[in-house]
Point group: C2
Chain length 134, copies 2
DNA sequence: CCGAATCCCCAAAGATACTG
DNA sequence: CAGTATCTTTGGGGATTCGG
């Protein structure tokens, strides 16, 4: 019999709950990759949640054309971003957060604000841990 | 001059804000790795936020000894989990969420609850996108 | 301007075997 | 029981080139 704890499916065993890898992970894994959060953040603060490809590229230090394309494809696939193609010369492509994409922002902000508050402490811990290891 | 949007440092340019890879990413990257969320979730529902190594291992389907060790080391290094070693025979080791680790749970829950609500829609979008690609 | 195609590298992660 | 030590595989991600 399957239940949920913290949105995570598990089966109850004699030893306690047993979790399995599951759906939420595939979303967190995406957000955890190298560029996704930066792209989302950038769209989040843009007019109409919308920017063209080159705007994103210029706005994110160090990202390559290839990685930006891949990141946007994945976001588009998940329905978080919509792609608008204008067949002009030279071509113009814009990306906009979908309604679902925008609806994620508060949760994202909740998380990043926790990180912001705790980051100094985390850095201290890492430093202490690394020193103790030596 | 450097400011913050959504907890993310950026510099203002003539083209608009320009973000740089930054601290919060290193935390999200950790959470996005394969096992971290499962370990955190498991501790989150345990008595006293505390479990022994074997309890975690049995509670997480598919995790290997090696990966559990690595995941716990990283969490310990960040100060999110504390390790208690009891030199008995056979040895016993317990892991407990620290205060900081526990303080992350609401933000985590906020995020996973967004995912839970939107997951069906995301799956639809992925399916539609993949079919359109063919 | 946007992005697909190729090639390459390295770190994450799995399998397995061994130890205090 | 709770790890380490090795070896191997996988795939994320960078650099570069070409094309519509």
């Amino acid at each position: 019999m399957e239940q949920n704890i913290y949105g995570r499916p598990y089966v109850q065993t004699t030893d306690g709950p047993r979790f399995r890898p599951c759906a939420p992970h595939s979303v967190l894994a995406r957000l955890g990759d190298k560029w996704t959060i930066l792209v989302m953040s950038h769209l989040a603060v843009a007019d109409g949640y919308r920017l063209r490809f080159s705007g994103l590229k210029n706005g994110i230090e160090g990202i390559t054309q290839r990685m930006l394309t891949l990141t946007l494809r994945n976001l588009e696939r998940d329905g978080l971003v919509k792609r608008y193609y204008y067949p002009e010369v030279p071509p113009r492509v814009e990306y906009e957060l979908t309604e679902m994409g925008a609806s994620m922002l508060p949760a994202l902000e909740g998380f990043t604000s926790w990180i912001r508050e705790n980051w100094p402490r985390i850095e201290e811990c890492r430093k202490a841990f690394d020193e103790a290891a030596a």
